[in-house]
Amino acid sequence: MYVHNLYSRARTVALGVMGLSVMFAFGMVVYRDVDMSLFDDLPESLMSMFGLTPGEDVASLAYNAIFSTYGALVLGGMAIMIGVGAVAGRERDGTIGILLANPVSRIRLVVESTLALITLYAASALVLLGVGLLTPAVLDVSISGLSVWGFIVQLVIGTIFYGFLALAIGARTGKAHAAIGISSGILILSFLGAGVMPLISGWEEVARIFPWYYISDGDPLRNGVNVGAIAILLGACALLFLAALVGFSRRDLRQRSVNIRILDRLRANHLTARLGERVAGRTLVSKIWVKTLSEFQTMTLFVSFLMCGLMGVMMGPIYAYMQPNMAQLGESFPPEMLAFFGGGDLGTPEGFFQLETFGLMAPIAIMVITISIGAKSIAGEENNRTLGILLANPISRSYLLTQKLIALLIWGFVVAFATFAGVATANLISSLGMDYLNILAICVNLLLLGYLFGALAFFMGAAFGRVGLAAGVSAGVAVVLQVASSMAEISGGWWQKFTPFYWYNGTDPLNNGFTLAGIVILALAAILVLTTSYPAFNRRDLTNG
């Protein structure tokens, strides 16, 4: 079982670690050519936002920027997926019954799944350590005085914590969705908390309640492993492991489970049944597009809330609070480095929002929604083996495509609109003085960018019928084009205008407003891909699940 656990997850982890390694090497190449003396003038508050410390050099910049942020998020996210898969994921898939019908105790199931997680993360640590040592050697970047070993160890132990958290919640409740939701919620919250709290005077110590804090507590890159932080993380992991053992041993196994939403409870209660029926019942099955909307409503509303509140409204006061330092900064921040995070002049609110909200977060947020809906539109029905019975009804394949497309367009619009509303509100309440039309311009570009990659996922799903392929290719193409776009920003590459990210924010719409060419190019590209989906789906054989 240990081996089975190991094999079933090894590919995901290997891909994640490989991606990180490439990004790290790329980051180091970019930073090598940056004049590091510029960093001496940076205010401390800004540096801590990027996980940098004063006296930064090329090597530590690469380690911190790539591994501490992207790396920790990726490793934490993968750990959650593995932790959930140990128990709750098997209950969701309905495979736990047959697994435990073999002479395998529940304790052994938990122990061997946990051992697999630890093995995979130990291997990841070794690979990252190798890359972390080899890259600077090849690029001839000095790493003297840096403890790469201590840094990686603390990073890996700090992120495997989230795997144990997901394991414990999943083992206790048997609910995979809950375990994923709560663990990633805590991950995101503690990522933000550990980053923002130290910036607020008087609240610095509060950061210690967030597990994320201990990933870089004591600056392990300079000072080596912080034994105290490691002890706290390992202690927490041990407690969660015990909680998983006890929680799983004492409860009933769940059958292949379904989500019970609040609306379902409303419907089941005779007092609220009529209300529930109106909101959750027959209306939601009136049309395919309405049903599709309801399937993605939780996810979309969560992302919209995040974009509107956290990345929109709250960024206003944060900018206002940091503005004195920002103004000082002026033009001194190296554009090469900013390009990697989406560019922008930090001295102005436009530049701040360009970097913080629109650089990476907004494209990721809208693509999570449009690519999810796009990939699952046809391929999801096919993988769940419901497409055959759905198309046994008198509807044409083109009609089905159009219905699914309506849902994609609506939810994409909601995310873009929530972002606009959030940033516009921040602009209003903190009197930032940005032009509302310009905010609208970048949000329109954002919407079209989301549609374009949603359309790609939609096409791939319609043409090939596999969710993983559709989502993976679309997300992969997006990452490659984003990296290509930021490389072009730095090096002035000729290919810049061929990446959709240039037409999204490369023309700096927050300062320059609408660019007709950008809108036309993004819209035409999306329409072209969507149109191709129809013949691709109409002509092919359906797969059998």
Binding site: Q255, R256, S257, V258, N259, I260, D264, G281, R282, L284, V285, S286, K287, I288, K291, E295, N384, R385, T386, G388, I389, L390, L391, A392, N393, P394, I395, S396, D541, L542, N544, G545
Partner: protein, 298 residues
């Protein structure tokens, strides 16, 4: 009269592999057609071709006079379909699912749906993911019959159903045929088909290897017959009766393995002996089918 289902040279290849080859079939109005074959024989491939889920490599098929590919949309208004290994939306209740499909059909007779639910004893308010496989199957059966179809395609419909519900399903199938419709019933178990079908086709390795009425199949089957006579007979009594496969006489009791209709055997016995008792088991079609299923060259 034009047949309800007609296929001509229908075939489907995946690369070099022929999942279905040269299928020629006709099913008439009022007929229940059993489509039998071992697992992986090509039954579901044939059905998916009829449902326009996949496209034929060769040949044509029509249902109710309409081409299954060209007129697929119009056709689906008039037929019902239950796929094998039924998968439905686990987060919907049975009632929601039926409403959803009814909306896609532009509405169905709600009272008829209610009647179907009562006959099959379905739990409509529960989420489909929480239902047992048999109860899930019942929802699938309702959606296949709810538009009062003229032609119904059922792929392994009895999976997970208890005997009472199986009988109710057989009733539904017969009602369609008796009302002038037709039913295409695919299965790998004979007992399911034997009770309700008028005619069967047997498919193996993608090829149709037999097309018979149930009655003629019964004629081909071997019965074990036990006779108790007033006195021990001579063996010569049974000589010359075609179809006797084996004979054993113990005192006044006779044990016979017999293939064919009972008429000739009974006539011979009655003319020469005085039978006190006769017992026979039901015609065992299973053995006939096993010979068809068995991996021999055809």
């Amino acid at each position: 009269m034009e047949p309800t289902l007609h296929t001509s040279g229908l075939g489907k290849n995946y690369g070099d592999f022929a999942a279905l080859a040269d299928l020629n079939l006709s099913v008439s109005a009022g007929e229940v057609f059993g489509f039998l074959g071992p697992n992986g024989a090509g039954k579901t491939t044939a059905i998916r071709l009829l449902m326009n889920e996949i496209r034929a490599t060769s040949g044509t098929a029509s249902i109710l006079g309409m081409d299954v590919h060209r007129d697929s949309l119009a056709l689906r208004h008039r037929i019902g379909y239950l796929p094998s290994e039924l998968a439905l939306y686990p987060n919907m209740t049975g009632a929601d699912l039926i409403h959803f499909f009814a909306n896609l059909r532009g509405g169905v007779d709600a009272r008829y749906v209610e009647q179907l639910g009562e006959r099959l004893n379905v739990q409509m308010a529960k989420k489909i993911g929480d239902l047992s496989s048999g109860n899930r199957q019942k929802i699938g059966i309702i959606q296949a019959f709810m538009n009062k179809p003229e032609f119904v395609i059922l792929d392994e419909p009895s999976a997970g159903l208890d005997p009472l519900v199986q009988r109710e399903l057989q009733g539904l199938i017969r009602e369609i045929a008796d009302a002038g419709g037709a039913v295409f019933l695919s299965s790998h178990t004979l007992s399911e088909v034997q009770r309700v079908a008028d005619r069967v086709g047997i498919i193996r390795s993608g090829k149709l290897i037999a097309l018979e009425t149930i009655a003629s199949l019964r004629g081909k089957s071997i019965r074990k017959i036990e006779l108790e006579l007033s006195s021990g007979p001579e063996e010569s009594v049974f000589e010359g009766i075609a179809g006797i496969r084996s004979l054993l006489i113990e005192g006044n009791r006779v044990f016979i393995s017999y293939e064919g209709t009972m008429e000739k055997l009974l006539a011979a016995v009655m003319s020469k002996c005085h039978p006190l008792d006769i017992s026979t088991n039901e015609a065992d079609l299973e053995e006939v089918f096993l010979t068809y299923y068995h991996d021999e060259s055809v």
